[in-house]
């Protein structure tokens, strides 16, 4: 087991409870989609799993260690994070941008060495970015930047990858390409956690799904078993239809007519 979350509660200063007694276990190599309406605490959950948001109640165990007692460098060696909104201020080359993913392995006063550069080239090639390596990361498309961000997360070969709404700002084609990358990373042995607004993405990724409701409570289970029409309608407070499409060989989530 790579993650064990026990009774995690979280609220922002002066705000309502975002996470309320959340418990979750995550096996190595599994893929977990986290669904929930806006403001339900999906990103907050990732922040707590990453240690960037210290939880006042509950414990997060990462690889058998209490996350709150781990050094950020130790956590970063085990966990790669792909943020939701990537808008770099400075135009680092894609190569330099990916190289920064090696930061947890490099001493504070050090600089990347030959091994770090070789790992960056490998990650660039794996994500199909070799041709863009010398381009500024401010001058590439949103989809390409997403790929660069994933390359930056995998360049240090962590065990877990956390994706915060990786398809949020992408067009349809790039959404599908990103989901395929996530599935492939899961096949390669990474434990993948993805937050998403789209139940279809959870269905496409398979594995397990966790649903956070507006009260900060979490329900988890196998995606195929957990995602039922009544549950989705209740969580999103709207009519949604789950229909089996024979041509695709899977269930799809549909909006009703307007």
């Amino acid at each position: 087991m790579i993650y064990r979350i026990c009774g995690l509660s979280f609220s922002y200063p002066g705000g309502p409870t975002v996470l309320d007694g959340v418990s979750l276990e995550l096996e190595r190599g599994e893929i977990l989609s986290v669904l929930g309406p806006n403001g339900a605490g999906k990103s907050t959950l990732l922040g707590c799993m990453l240690g960037t948001l210290p939880a006042p109640a509950g414990t997060v165990w990462l690889d058998g260690q209490d996350l709150s007692r781990m050094h950020p460098r130790e956590i970063a060696r085990l966990v790669g994070y792909v943020p939701q909104n990537l808008s770099p201020v400075f135009g680092y080359t894609v190569r330099d941008f990916v190289l920064m993913g090696r930061a947890p392995l490099i001493p504070t006063l050090g600089r990347p060495g030959a091994a770090d550069r070789a790992a960056a080239e490998e990650a660039l090639t794996q994500m199909g970015l070799a041709a863009l390596a010398d381009r500024p990361c401010t001058g590439i498309s949103g989809g390409e930047r997403q790929q660069a961000s994933i390359a930056r997360a995998i360049v240090r070969r962590p065990q877990v990858l956390l994706f915060d709404e990786p398809t949020a700002h992408l067009d349809f084609g790039n959404q599908l390409r990103t989901l395929r990358v996530l599935k492939e990373l899961s096949r390669q042995g990474y434990t993948v956690v993805v937050t998403t607004h789209n139940p279809d993405h959870a269905i496409l990724l398979g594995g397990r799904t966790a649903i956070l409701d507006r009260n900060g409570r979490l329900t988890a289970g196998q995606t195929g078993e957990l995602l039922r029409e009544d549950l989705l309608c209740r969580v999103y407070q709207t009519d949604l239809k789950l229909r089996y499409v024979e041509e695709l060989g899977r269930v799809v989530c549909l909006f009703p007519n307007l």
Partner: protein, 337 residues
């Protein structure tokens, strides 16, 4: 690709700086040839008797050499601190001036003058003033709950205005015969009265922070991605950012102690450096330092050679810096950088 040009760029700027130093020793109202100045310098360093008139030796050793060293050091320090601040706050719009560090340091120095404290305390007070100003500028957006780049700039404007008022008050209560002149010297920026005796005590406050920033330059790259991403990459953001701010503030405050407030250098030079080498701080920081040294040496040499009386240096850096910065922004926008 710009990065591969960093080493030749360093050699080019280093050569330019050396040539500039030699030229600056020679030019002025009292002209000295390069051969004469080098011979005088060698004789003085080796303790040999000089056959040159005392006036010539004094001009080279007492007036020009300290002034040249000071302008190069202050130019390098302000540019280095500007580049570091911009990286660590992920904000290319800020500089020691915008963060209120310079005016804070100026208030510290003015207060020490007003209280008639010994000269060593002026440096200490200037540093404390700089730290207090940057702390207020950084704390204000956090207190408001808006940590955006524009809020940081606005916070700098607020703190800067408050500092100007405090400085105005100190000037108002200062003795117009003695203290006011000394305080005005700090606010205008000048290398006119710099001596080697002023420079040497400042070196321990300039060289170690500069070395520390150069050693942290790659980590500044990671910090420039933003707080959340840097933390997710295992960086102890509070500690590393605190260390960078401490070093950059020390550099700025020490510069103010040597020459008073000199505006625009810490903002414009890092931009120019970024155009030459790209944003990677491992290349940008040393290139900015060299470029800043060359720039301020050139500006100071101009202030003492053009016209009949010497112009305060901030007038020229402002006249050059403001339109140059506007041009840089226009050029960057056109290129979509």
């Amino acid at each position: 690709m710009k990065g591969r040009r960093a080493v030749p760029m360093g050699i080019l700027l280093g050569s330019l700086l050396l040539a500039g130093v030699v030229l600056a020793v020679c030019v002025g109202k009292y002209r000295v040839t390069p051969a004469e100045s080098l011979e005088i310098l060698a004789q003085q360093l080796l303790g040999l008797p000089s056959g040159y008139p005392e006036m010539t030796v004094n001009v080279v050793m007492e007036l020009r050499i300290p002034r040249i060293l000071a302008s190069v050091l202050v130019g390098a320090a302000l540019s280095l601190s500007g580049a570091a601040y911009q990286g660590v706050f992920s904000n290319p719009l800020i500089s020691p001036d915008f963060l209120g560090v310079s005016s804070g340091a100026c208030i510290g120095a003015a207060l020490a003058i007003l209280l008639a404290l010994p000269s060593g305390s002026i440096q200490l007070f200037a540093f404390a003033g700089g730290v207090a100003a940057v702390a207020m500028t950084v704390a204000l957006p956090a207190a408001i709950g808006n940590r955006s780049n524009i809020m940081l700039v606005l916070s700098g404007v607020i703190v800067g205005s408050a500092m100007s008022s405090v400085l105005g008050f100190i000037k108002y209560v200062a003795d117009p015969e003695t203290e006011l002149a000394a305080i005005t010297y700090w606010t205008m920026g000048s290398f006119t009265y710099v001596t080697l005796g002023d420079l040497l005590p400042a070196l321990p406050f300039l060289l170690p922070p500069a070395a520390c920033l150069l050693l942290l330059s790659w980590r500044i790259n990671v910090l420039s991605l933003g707080e959340e991403e840097a933390r997710a990459l295992g960086v102890n953001v509070r500690a590393v950012r605190g260390l960078v701010i401490l070093c950059a503030t020390l550099l700025t405050a020490s510069s103010v102690c040597i020459s008073g407030t000199i505006s625009w250098v810490g903002l414009v030079i890092p931009h120019l450096g970024r155009m030459l080498t790209g944003p990677d701080n491992t290349r940008l920081l040393p290139v900015s330092a060299l470029l800043g040294g060359v720039f301020l040496l050139a500006v100071d040499t101009l202030t003492r050679t053009i016209g009949t009386s010497e112009m305060p240096i901030s007038i020229l850096t402002g006249l050059v810096g403001a339109p140059f910065y506007a041009w840089l922004l226009w050029r960057q926008r056109r290129r979509g950088l």
